[in-house]
Structures are given as C-alpha cells and as structure tokens.
Subunit: 209 residues, 2 copies
C-alpha cells in the first residue's frame, strides 16, 4: 500500500474519532474528501479497498469504518515496544497515550544514565542499556522507539537488530541502517513545520488576492 494511502487512512481514523465524540453515527465520502483536498471518489476507492461500502445518502457507519481502518493498520494487535533514551522527548512519549493509539504496548524503557536506571517512569522501571539485548529476547519485544542522540542511533540500532527487533520508530535525526527485514519509520518533526510554513504563505497570498 503506498504511503499516501496509509497516511489518509490514519487521518480518516483521527477524523472519525472526532465525529464519534460529537455523537455522529455516519460520515460521507464528501466529508472525508475535504480533509485532504482530494476527490470523494478517491476516498471511496480507499475505503472500498478495505471492504467498506457507504450508503447512498448517509455514507459510512463511523464505528464500522473505524473498525475496518484499525484492522487494516493492525492497530488492534498491540505489539510490544521498548523506548530507548529517556531525555525530554522520551519522557514526553513515555507518559503519552500514543502507544496504544498507534498499535503498540510500551513494555520497557532503557537509558544509559546511572541516575535514571532503576527509577520508575509511568509504571515502568528504567533499565540499563546493557540489559537491552537480554530483555528484548526474554520479553518478546517486537519494536523499539529510539530517542537517543544522533551519535548513539546507529550503535543502538545494531543492538536492537541483533536482539531481533522487527520495527523501529526513529526520532533521531539520522538515517539508520537496518537489514531488509526490519521496518523503520522515521519521525521528522520538522516536516510538520514545513507544511505549516507552506500553508501559511498560501493562506496569506490567497488573502491578498
């Protein structure tokens, strides 16, 4: 599935959650199309691929559509994940609910700072990075989020790969090298700002017309 479609499914899901919180029961392809400035036929194409068919006037049942997207993205199957690096960003993520929303279950936190090792963060005891290999093996952890400095990113990745990790959520600013069977999702926070930058200019030039 192309990345653009995965991103759209994620956005549909976010939007459907909002509609549900407003007690709405159905959503039309037109409403969803507005999200991305795409055509409603493109939306229907995306959704038919998941086996979802809307009704002529009312559209799609929100609960059913959410369920189908959640299944397509495998979000209901919570995969065990470890967090490596307990700086400010790691700490912010550890305390957030992104894990379960994104299809994961945060099970372990590792850092190299002796001051942090042994302390408890959101119910998890921080472990030494030297225990990483054994812990990942014994706990059956499938994925890792790395929020370590750039210089540590590749060595930590190598350790994770050797321990059998299959997916890495990479917040470090460098491109990490992994074997073909390991999936890496790079988180480039600056891309959100670039989008804002572009849209602010479009907005202001649109208003000057």
């Amino acid at each position: 599935m192309p990345k653009a479609i995965i991103l759209r499914l994620e956005s549909y899901l976010t939007y459907l959650g909002q509609l549900r919180s407003e007690n709405k029961k159905t959503a039309t392809s037109d409403e969803l199309a507005k999200l991305f400035g795409i055509s409603s036929s493109r939306v229907r194409q995306d959704l038919v691929a998941l086996g979802a068919t809307g009704k002529p006037r009312s559209g799609y049942g929100i609960a059913e559509l959410e369920e189908r997207i959640i299944q397509a993205l495998d979000v209901d199957n919570k995969k065990k994940i470890a967090l490596i690096g307990l700086g400010n960003l790691g700490r912010a993520l550890a305390g957030s609910n992104v894990w379960s929303q994104g299809g994961f279950d945060l099970r372990a936190i590792f850092d190299k700072d002796p001051q942090l090792i042994g302390t408890e963060v959101h119910g998890l005891k921080v472990r030494s990075i030297t225990e990483l290999f054994g812990a990942i093996k014994s706990d059956g952890i499938a994925a890792a989020c790395i929020t370590v400095p750039a210089s540590a990113a590749q060595p930590v990745t190598d350790l994770l790969v050797t321990a059998g990790i299959k997916g890495i959520w990479n917040f470090s600013p460098i491109e990490i090298n992994v074997p073909a069977e390991v999936t890496v999702e790079n988180m480039r926070l600056e891309q959100g700002l670039m989008t804002l930058s572009f849209r602010m200019r479009s907005q202001s030039s649109g208003m000057n017309k």
Copy 2:
C-alpha cells in the same frame, strides 16, 4: 497544493540532504520514486511544477533541487514562532533544531508555572502566559507551537488568535477551532506508530509467503 505533494516535497528534501552529506551531486527521479513507492513520472511531475528539470542520465542537481523545494515550502523565510507549554515535549522541542529546518525562528517561550517563569531555556527567558498577548503583538510573532494539556489548548488558541497569530503547530490531542485565516497543522505522533504497525505486518506477511 494537495497535502500528499507537500509531504513528498518534504521527504525529497530530507533525502536530498542525506545524499548531499554523502557528497553526491545529482539524483534521478528513479531514486526519488523509490522513497514513496510511486512512479518516477509522478516525481518528475512534482518537480516540474517547481520549475526543476532533470538531465536525461544524471538527473537533477541536488543543490538546485533543494533550493527550489526550500523556496516552494517557504522554508528560507524564517517566520517568528512562540512555544506555549514547557512540559517535557516543549522542552525537547525548544532544544531541537526543528525550527530553522522547518522555516521558523523560535523567539519566545510561555508557560503558566511560576517555577519556570523567568528561567532561561536555550537562550530564551520563559515568560508568563499572561504576557502572551502583548508579547506576540510587540515582537511580531507570526506562529505558535502549542504543547499544553488538552484542557488548555482551546483557551490558549483563542488568546493566540486574538493576538494575531496566523499559524499554529498543534501538539495537543484535540482539534482546535480557529477562524478561516489561521492555519493549523496538527501533529499526531501516533500516526507514525500506525504506519510502523501497518508496515511491520506487511513485512512479516511478505516474508511468510
């Protein structure tokens, strides 16, 4: 410009930066196409819209292409931005280089915690949220990043809008309401995990075939 194209331009830019750091001078549309699993003709379409034309064999000059994308996204025009909320996430962002990479210049930090107000964070003095309105007006700040709890997101947004902010990078988990002339870019960190979730399953089912 559809969001999908903006996202592709951002990813081209990240990738071109990596190639440049490896001392490469040119990149082909085929190389860029691999990034997204899209066709190389789609890549050429994206780039021709920016006025960039590749040479038959060698492809695009990396430095020139980066320059064109930077201009298209308005990243070289650094807009003044304020950070509201100095929790772990705010602190991580304050110390990062996302601002200049994304087209902004972090000029002010606000929080409501008296313990934080007056302290210095990465060269900026933390100010009270009660000073927000005046400071934004007098400093000519155009955008804001909000990393406040969900309950504070809408009141802070209302204050920012009244002060004349034109763009908001929203890390709070709620949808904020703004007038039409204000641009909001929602940062949904869990979407990165959903992509990883989807791709890990595709990877493992592909390997079982």
